[in-house]
Symmetry: C2
Subunit: 404 residues, 2 copies
């Protein structure tokens, strides 16, 4: 099949089913994202109660709020990671970020907050890839600007509390080479251009930098890409916590992994954090009022939540008391579902608000409190991250106690 036929086929599919587009560069939907459809189309599995209970039993810890609330909702081979853990076998975590903006918003923090939980409960090593090359390819930025953003973003990531004795952060412009480059070539040799078009939707007008990128994001799934960490451990399985829009990269990776003699990486995948204006996609860096940033002041947060957070409450107090709020579309409740840790309080708010006894203003006030605390905590943590700490996390070094 030729490139165009394939891309035309894809285009036709999108024309036939245009209600949602989810890939690493675009998330959009008419109305809400249908995550069940996404699971079906991508071919991953739903993360069900049984698997979460098993995780709870194995780790003797209450599952993370993102698991209890269905934020991480899909997976590939997560059961096999739990099997390995149960047998006492080791694995490692891999996550990453494309450093396209100076300030992270709350949606950006989610994979890192969750990855920190996984590192804490499983006590395993973690590699974090900053894809500054990807951002150079897709954005109108210089390499130096992308590298600077990678370093700034590393500070926010470190502020999430990762254990330096188990964590290696790297940027592609600093790290690509050696075994990592060899693995890139091994992957590149096993993916045809037509396949890449099928997975990523590349067009003939796209530059070859973009076409050459997928192997870069694939290879941190393979232990031999990190000889300073995993020398002699080429069989170590890998678990990737990420948002579901990254699934195409790892679908490709899972196809080639066995041909290269590696385990297929396992995945645990999150839904998207909704924009303040409502749940139709990811937050947008081009509209500062669509998101809460970790750099927002308490006043910013209060203004944004009060002015821009889409409410499911009724138009008048009378009508609200009578009908209650529509929790399905209410952004303050969605945000509390992500960030209010107390299950009882969340249930209480949802009941009182849903039945009209609590008003939008009261829910927003509680959300402002929760977010302000979260952002303040992050800001304090980030302020204490020094350049030396960044250097230390990014140093190419062994992690002698990574499994203890």
């Amino acid at each position: 099949m030729t490139a165009t036929t394939e891309s035309e086929k894809k285009k036709r599919e999108e024309e036939e089913e245009p209600e949602q587009v989810v890939n690493p560069w675009e998330v959009s939907a008419k109305g809400k994202i249908d995550y069940d459809k996404l699971i079906d189309r991508f071919g991953c599995q739903k993360l069900d109660e049984a698997l979460i209970s098993r995780l709870e039993q194995l780790t003797s810890r209450t599952p993370h709020v993102f698991l209890r609330r269905g934020v991480f909702f899909a997976h590939r081979d997560f059961a096999e990671i739990l099997d390995a853990y149960e047998r006492g076998d080791k694995f490692y975590l891999y996550t990453g970020r494309g450093p396209s903006s100076e300030a992270l918003h709350l949606g950006h923090l989610i994979p890192f907050m969750f990855t920190k939980y996984l590192q804490d409960v499983f006590k395993v090593p973690l590699v974090i890839q900053l894809t500054d090359d990807e951002k150079f390819f897709w954005k109108n930025l210089t390499i130096e600007e992308c590298r600077r953003l990678a370093r700034e973003n590393a500070k926010d990531i470190i502020a999430c509390g990762f254990d330096i004795s188990k964590t290696f952060i790297f940027s592609d412009f600093n790290y690509v080479g050696g075994s990592f480059y060899k693995n890139m070539c091994e992957v590149g040799k096993r993916v045809t251009y037509n396949q890449a078009v099928g997975i990523f939707g590349f067009a003939g007008e796209d530059h070859i930098g973009k076409v050459s990128f997928p192997p870069v994001q694939a290879v941190p799934s393979f232990p031999s890409s990190f000889p300073h960490l995993f020398s002699g451990k080429e069989n170590l399985p890998c678990l990737i916590p990420c948002a579901i829009d990254q699934d195409p990269y790892f679908r490709m990776t899972r196809d080639v992994a066995p041909k290269m003699g590696f385990h297929k990486p396992a995945l645990i995948e999150s839904l998207f954090f909704p924009a303040l204006q409502g749940e139709t996609g990811k937050m947008s860096a081009s509209d500062p009022n669509s998101a809460i940033y970790v750099t927002d002041s308490a006043k910013d947060i209060k203004n944004k939540v009060n002015k821009h957070a889409f409410s499911g409450g009724q138009d008048s107090i009378e009508k609200h008391r009578q009908l209650g709020a529509n929790l399905e579309v209410d952004i303050p409740v969605k945000y509390l579902t992500f960030f209010l840790e107390d299950d009882d309080e969340l249930e209480h708010i949802k009941k009182e608000y849903g039945e009209g006894r609590m008003l939008t203003g009261e829910v927003k006030q509680r959300l402002v409190q929760v977010l302000t605390e979260l952002v303040e905590r992050h800001r304090r943590a980030r302020a204490s991250v020094t350049e030396e700490m960044v250097d230390a996390f990014m140093a190419i070094r062994p992690l002698p106690h990574m499994f203890s």
Copy 2:
């Protein structure tokens, strides 16, 4: 224009004009390669007498036999390199080899013999790229096998007599990373897939490793790819001696160079060394009798020349004495044109043989002598190349006296 349209266009062109195909992976022609047509199609210039005389004047040295005999016959901006040299400005040389076979044949030696001459007369630094990644992408070989071949080939290259104080040899699997990788990304961002299809003829079934390769061969043309050599000399012009089948890579490179703030690399390009069986293309590694290898014994050489070298002599001695040899198709005379240094002797042979006074056997005997000496000299030189010398040439190091 879509990829397929472009590649179909190319296919149509080839169907319309199928008499010769010349690209980095295929050289074939019905009959002899028409080099004038190639110059015209590629858009390079003929290396004329005036330019060669100017080189002779500037360097006060008899031009290399490969220049006197038209082996290096085409160029791009070579006059500008001579201008720079005349002004006392510096430049550097870049050449390379795809290490696909253990033993080199005489055709493989030609660019290196010529590059050594250029290094000697201009006293400039030289970088030699061993594209072990390219061979991994195009051949059914493992990375380790490609790396081993790169190292073996490096010994043959070193045996050509390069000055270690001015020469850096690197293999892509050892060297890609850092500034080199950054430049690869800068090139990749500036070449669309459609353009790559137009230049290299990629098809949708080709893997993305191939598509990602052209930037790897492009970037040694840019001084900043070698910070250990050219830090602070980002304006240094580059001259690339190579066979003309490599022109597509550098056409692409010359397109992007100014957009990246670099000089367009200059080129000096050779024709192909003909197979023993006749002048229809390059020699083939799959037919050992099509070429003289640097590993051939004196006996091998004698047998190959006597049995397989296509002769322009006549069928019978009587007819030969009467008509003389057809020098246009005679391989022994072609080979002597490449390797017999004495201009007077070559003219004498051509005259005597062309007018029937000299017989094929006599010409072949002289050729066997010349080639045996050349191969013996190479073998002795290669035997003295130690692993330590390979390490020394390939060490990532400054070249403190590279211009003196």
